[in-house]
């Protein structure tokens, strides 16, 4: 799907330029676009290095594990089909905490582990169980508390206050996660009514 979007944006742009007489602008755009992308990535290094470094300290101090423990009672209610001390719950919790602190690379393997355990709970079937759909819904709604990359981009373009979007992002994330959970519940009850 990305392939199609990518090709059609470029090709439509080129055709449009031919018809519209904007070839000169397009020629320039090819080179400035590439250059801007590199500048951006170099700018990202500062924040990413600092943040991931901080999070490594948090991880080694056992802070992330502790936070998972604190979230447990809250999350338990979302997954009624997962037994209390099942390893799936541990993976689900650590995945969510990693996501909260913007550790996408750490969150993905934990999420896959959680899925494996949920599949085992579901008798190894190749269809998605209720818990799996809930877990996915929460993951796709994003749990990010600190949008580090976005802050870095804003810094790159000389924002007066790069972090002033943190509060609004947290609120919007909260809304989308609560929305995801409610939508998931709605679909679950619809499914179970149908039998």
């Amino acid at each position: 799907m990305v392939n199609y979007i990518w090709v059609s944006m470029t090709v439509i742009g080129l055709v449009f330029a031919a018809v519209n007489g904007t070839m000169a602008e397009v020629n320039e755009a090819i080179f400035t676009g590439a250059k801007e992308a590199v500048t951006l990535c170099i700018g990202l290094i500062s924040i990413l290095v600092f943040w991931l470094g901080m999070m490594k300290i948090a991880e080694e101090a056992g802070l992330l594990a502790k936070l998972s423990q604190l979230c447990r009672p809250l999350v338990k209610g979302l997954f009624p089909e997962v037994p209390k001390d099942h390893p799936a719950m541990g993976y689900i919790l650590s995945n969510m905490v990693a996501n909260m602190f913007g550790l996408g690379n750490a969150a993905t393997p934990l999420g896959i582990k959680a899925m494996e355990e949920l599949k085992r709970l579901n008798g190894g079937k190749d269809s998605a169980s209720r818990s799996m759909i809930t877990f996915l819904a929460i993951n796709t709604s994003s749990l990010t508390l600190i949008p580090t990359t976005v802050i870095a981009i804003r810094m790159n373009y000389n924002s007066a206050s790069p972090t002033d979007i943190v509060g609004p992002t947290i609120i919007a994330t909260l809304c989308s996660t609560i929305g995801a959970i409610m939508i998931d519940r709605y679909f679950y009850y619809r499914r179970s009514r149908k039998g």
């Binding site: 990305v2 979007i5 990518w6 944006m9 470029t10 439509i12 742009g13 080129l14 449009f16 330029a17 602008e25 755009a29 676009g33 590439a34 801007e36 590199v38 951006l40 990535c41 170099i42 290094i45 924040i47 990413l48 991931l52 901080m54 999070m55 490594k56 300290i57 056992g62 690379n105 993905t108 999420g111 896959i112 899925m115 190749d126 998605a128 759909i133 996915l136 993951n139 796709t140 709604s141 994003s142 990010t144 976005v150 981009i153 790159n156 373009y157 924002s159 007066a160 206050s161 979007i165 943190v166 509060g167 609004p168 992002t169 609120i171 994330t173 809304c175 989308s176 929305g179 995801a180």
Partner: protein, 176 residues
């Protein structure tokens, strides 16, 4: 409103202070751990360069040719009727499909409209408050061999819609 700006201002510094003090109490070799974790950041930033170049060149071409303006004028009336700024529509469409593509588009929007403009802030919040539904779905279900996805895709996309609406409402309320 003041509380939201206070959260924005205090959240990161307080968290950093807390992590450093907690780490010291737990006798973590703080500086060494920081350096070790930081290395990962360089790897990530460098590894997304090709993704961003590909996507940002495509967007630049699309914009410079005049095709984007044409599309904007076309969808503007319908979008404005429901209160969605048309400039944000391409980002909203690509956000659930590809994370790096959305990142490229977010930075393009922030660069063109300015980081402190309404559109720039909206793009920033939108990028931060939703995730790449198709990617999460493919990776998580693909890795463990789930073939029947049930309602997962529908739930994920509807949740994205809630996220987009929430971002528009929150940014409008906080920044205007």
């Amino acid at each position: 409103m003041q509380m939201i700006s206070a959260i924005s201002l205090w959240f990161i510094p307080v968290l950093i202070g807390f992590v450093l003090i907690y780490g010291t109490i737990k006798q973590v070799p703080t500086y060494e751990s920081f350096v070790e974790g930081g290395r990962e950041g360089i790897k990530i930033a460098v590894s997304i360069i090709p993704f961003l170049i590909g996507m940002m060149v495509a967007i630049s071409v699309f914009r410079a040719s005049g095709a984007l303006d044409f599309l904007m004028d076309f969808i503007r009336p319908g979008m404005e009727m429901v209160g969605i700024p048309p400039e944000i529509v391409p980002l909203a469409i690509i956000r659930p499909i590809s994370g790096t593509a959305a990142l490229g588009m977010t930075s393009d929007i922030i660069g063109v409209y300015g980081p402190d403009s309404f559109i720039g802030r909206l793009a920033a919040v939108l990028q931060g408050s939703t995730d790449t539904t198709f990617y999460v779905l493919t990776v998580y279900f693909g890795a463990v061999g789930i073939k029947k996805m049930g309602d997962a895709l529908k739930v994920g996309l509807l949740a994205d819609l809630v996220g987009i609406v929430a971002a528009i409402v929150v940014v409008t309320v906080v920044f205007s």
